[in-house]
């Protein structure tokens, strides 16, 4: 068990180190999220629509689109220079690769979210309340997104044609995360308490558990040749 954690953390360390040396993925994720917020604000005209009604949806669209960039890069970076063969020939369990990659993606998305939240609050003029609840929702939602996305990104890196298909494959599957996250973020922004969104929280937790355990079981089939 101890060795397993060491394997996972080695992959996480490698990913974060190489990302923080260049920071190009984080910057492009963050800029895309900011631009999505801006474009949506222009398209909905906040003078006519109540900001609080549309804000959660826009926020999660921005997070998911930006997160897709990260997922796309995640295994593509390994494909360049054929690093993937090095990773595959490591004497570790294949699922450790999955957890390492997933944790890496999760960390990048969380950093991006930490930066995008203030921008979001400022742009939409939202009240700052229920911060723990929103943090919890974001944590669970991002976990579900990366759990499902890392599995698919390992597949999509294999072929150039499939790379453009990642959103087509991923977005229908993460629909429960989107619905739950948007609804509960909206409820929290309206001043409701965590107790009011328990059913959404349960859904998110169920999604996370199911997708992490299923990916744990079938990830090895995505890395074979």
């Amino acid at each position: 068990m101890k060795k397993y954690f060491k394997d996972v953390s080695a992959i996480v360390w490698k990913d974060t180190l190489s990302e923080f040396r260049t920071r190009e993925m984080l910057i492009s994720m963050f800029m895309l999220a900011v631009l999505i917020l801006i474009i949506f604000i222009f398209s909905i005209h906040l003078g006519k629509v109540k900001a609080i009604d549309v804000a959660p949806g826009v926020l999660w669209i921005a997070i998911i689109f930006a997160g897709t960039i990260g997922l796309n890069r995640s295994f593509l970076n390994e494909k360049e220079n054929d690093c993937i063969f090095g990773i595959m020939s490591m004497p570790i369990d294949r699922s450790a690769i999955y957890f390492g990659k997933m944790t890496g993606n999760f960390i990048f998305m969380t950093i991006m979210e930490i930066f995008i939240f203030p921008v979001f609050i400022v742009f939409f003029n939202l009240p700052i309340q229920n911060i723990p609840g929103i943090v919890l929702i974001t944590f669970l939602g991002t976990l579900g997104f990366t759990a499902c996305g890392t599995l698919l990104s390992a597949m999509s890196a294999a072929s150039a044609k499939l790379r453009y298909m990642l959103p087509v494959l991923l977005y229908p599957l993460i629909l429960p995360v989107v619905i739950a996250a948007v609804q509960s973020t909206g409820a929290l922004l309206y001043g409701k308490q965590i107790a009011d969104i328990m059913s959404w929280l349960k859904l998110l937790i169920a999604f996370d558990i199911i997708f992490i355990s299923v990916s744990f079981l079938i990830f090895e089939y995505t890395l074979e040749e």
Binding site: C148, L151, L152, M155, A158, S159, K161, L162, M165, V168, L169, P172, L173, L175, P176, I179, A180, Q183, S199, W200, L203, A206, F207, I210, F211, V214, S215, I218, Y221, T222, E224, E225
Partner: protein, 268 residues
């Protein structure tokens, strides 16, 4: 009534056209494979065109019986427009799409377990037919909804679930389409087939929490299901008819796919 009849006739024609088209392709492939391969025996064993014709005949017979029962024999529903008769095909198509998607799930698991490309073909054909029937279900549902609710589409749990199912499995077919190596395709498609199917209950639950229920529930078998005994019988007959059509399409498609696989093996 007459336009309803023509709509059903149209659907029937599409189905027959599909079967005939696939069957023609089948014959061509058999000929080609016969030219290429020395192993004539194994190919002629595969080409049991008589059995296929029998199945098509059965399918046509049952569909005609179901059509007669649905359009003429079953009584009018109280307070419902005549379009209610669409339910007989709508529900049957819904069942068949679930059957198709379940076959995909089972085939995917079997493939990852046994590593036999035959199971992968099962999964592929299941998804393909499931998507066809799912589209049929959505289209018939929309026609009914326009008459009953006055709108083609409302964002209501069951409709949304059907749409998401369609999108997931169209994604599955696209995944299969863009890949080239059959072994990698089978592996990735199986992974996607498994997680796609596991996702369905979660999607269902989330949509149910999100929307409100407007869709009538008639097949739960309860007292207030609102179907007269004749209607229930008609529904059952049309489900059986669809099952036979499904089986015919499935077997023919499977046959074509295995011929294609054989052919590409012969060529290389």
């Amino acid at each position: 009534m007459s336009y309803l009849l023509s709509a059903y006739g149209f659907l029937l024609l599409i189905m027959i056209g599909y079967i005939v088209r696939v069957n023609l392709k089948c014959g061509r492939l058999v000929k080609e494979a016969g030219c290429l391969s020395n192993d004539q025996k194994s190919i002629s064993k595969l080409d049991s065109s008589k059995a296929r014709l029998c199945l098509i005949g059965f399918a046509l017979l049952f569909i005609s019986v179901a059509l007669y029962m649905a359009l003429i024999w079953s009584p009018d529903a109280k307070g419902e427009p005549a379009t209610y008769r669409i339910i007989y095909f709508h529900v049957a198509a819904a069942f068949m799409s679930y059957v198709g998607f379940f076959i995909t799930f089972a085939g995917s698991i079997l493939y990852l377990w046994k590593r036999d490309l035959r199971f992968d073909r099962w999964a592929k054909v299941g998804a393909d037919l499931g998507v066809h029937f799912c589209a049929l279900m959505i289209i018939t549902g929309m026609i009914w909804g326009k008459q009953r609710w006055g709108a083609w589409w409302i964002w209501e749990p069951r409709l949304t679930l059907a749409l998401v199912l369609l999108v997931i499995y169209v994604g599955y077919l696209i995944l299969r389409h863009v890949m080239e190596n059959p072994v990698t395709t089978a592996r990735y498609a199986s992974v996607y087939g498994i997680i796609g199917f596991i996702d369905v209950p979660l999607v269902h639950y989330s949509i149910k929490l999100w929307g409100k229920i407007m869709h009538p529930v008639v097949t739960d078998g309860g007292k207030n299901s609102g179907l007269a005994p004749e209607m229930m019988l008609t529904l059952e007959v049309s489900i059986i008819a669809f099952l036979i059509v499904f089986a015919a399409m499935y077997i023919i498609r499977l046959h074509v796919d295995s011929l294609e696989a054989n052919l590409s093996r012969c060529r290389t």
